[in-house]
Subunit: 207 residues, 2 copies
């Protein structure tokens, strides 16, 4: 593994574990047992590491965005979309742990993250409209707008919501299926009986 | 105003504006134009300031918790509860900005905050059951449990959700009525036509 990649991986691990605001580049070089000069040769500061990790995170998230259905069940597609999304979000947990703080210090990332939120909204919108077309979801268009907004919000903060209630925050082990389920639970009141049952079955096989 | 109170108020202002992890006690004494020694005489470190501010915040929040209805409309009571809650949460914005980070560093506050979350859940439960009794809300008991969980989560993170999308995060000016409305919007699919209309009217007069 190249030094540059080792620095990125080590930073990610320390950020996720301790929180990005509590980790310095010196912590990273100490952990890797390399000189600060060697780290500096690859990254001119923490901001360059942050930028690179955000690139990776964003690329992985953008790949998941939904333009059209993959399976013959929009409910299943939504479940898959949410599960994979939370997997990536948990991999880059540091970002969500301190999202408000991080975005305050990195305006460029703030812009990009807001674009990503827009893409997530769009994916959830595509999936919700598909549920409507399939006739399993009964809602007015403005209900769907509100639903998509709440789902986007829940996607962004459910990991944090779990974390602040975890018995051991330091070694927080997120329950990703639970996160995905909680986002989908927002659909429940709009689903017909069969779809509610289908959602419960999907959930049961993962939770 | 006593020096001790000036220190608390100044800390709160700086924490809210810059984020608590980015503010030192030296920043506070500089801002107040007092010596670090003078500050130290009142508070032995940032943790003592944090503890005192949390006491104030918690006391204000606990006073709002609902045991029974105040008005003859549970919908209006819920709106009042949420509006006042968000007012206090915005006053202590620093806490919600960095909630995950803060709780990681202050285990005692983590315990107390989780107790507060429990009290908020209980208040939302009381209000939801009142809506059910009034016959304006149609839901099974497990729908209500899920609803209360989502409302608690939205209460905790909607300010942050607004903030990460704000054009100017540094001088973020939260829209509290919007926050309260978004939490209540989770009720929408369970309300009867008249109650949906009532909620829209309440919202219109504030939004």
């Amino acid at each position: 593994m190249k030094t540059r990649d080792r620095i990125l991986l080590c930073s990610l691990t320390l950020f996720n574990g301790r929180g990005e605001p509590n980790v310095t580049t010196l912590d990273v070089s100490t952990e890797l047992d390399i000189s600060p000069g060697n780290l500096y040769y690859h990254f001119k500061g923490k901001n360059e590491i942050i930028a690179e990790l955000y690139e990776q995170f964003e690329a992985a998230m953008l790949e998941l965005q939904v333009q059209s259905l993959e399976s013959d069940s929009a409910l299943l597609d939504m479940w898959t979309y949410l599960q994979f999304s939370f997997e990536i979000m948990a991999q880059y947990l540091y970002f969500y742990r301190d999202v408000s703080n991080l975005l305050g210090r990195y305006p460029l990332i703030r812009k990009r993250f807001n674009r990503l939120l827009g893409r997530q909204r769009k994916s959830l919108e595509v999936l919700s409209q598909a549920l409507l077309l399939e006739g399993v979801l009964q809602a007015e268009q403005n209900d769907i707008a509100s639903l998509v907004e709440h789902m986007t919000m829940a996607m962004t903060f459910w990991l944090n919501y779990q974390r602040v209630q975890a018995p051991d925050m330091e070694h927080f082990d997120p329950d990703l299926a639970q996160c995905a389920y909680q986002v989908m639970a927002l659909l429940m009141p709009y689903l017909d009986v069969a779809a509610r049952e289908e959602l419960r079955l999907i959930a049961d096989s993962y939770l």
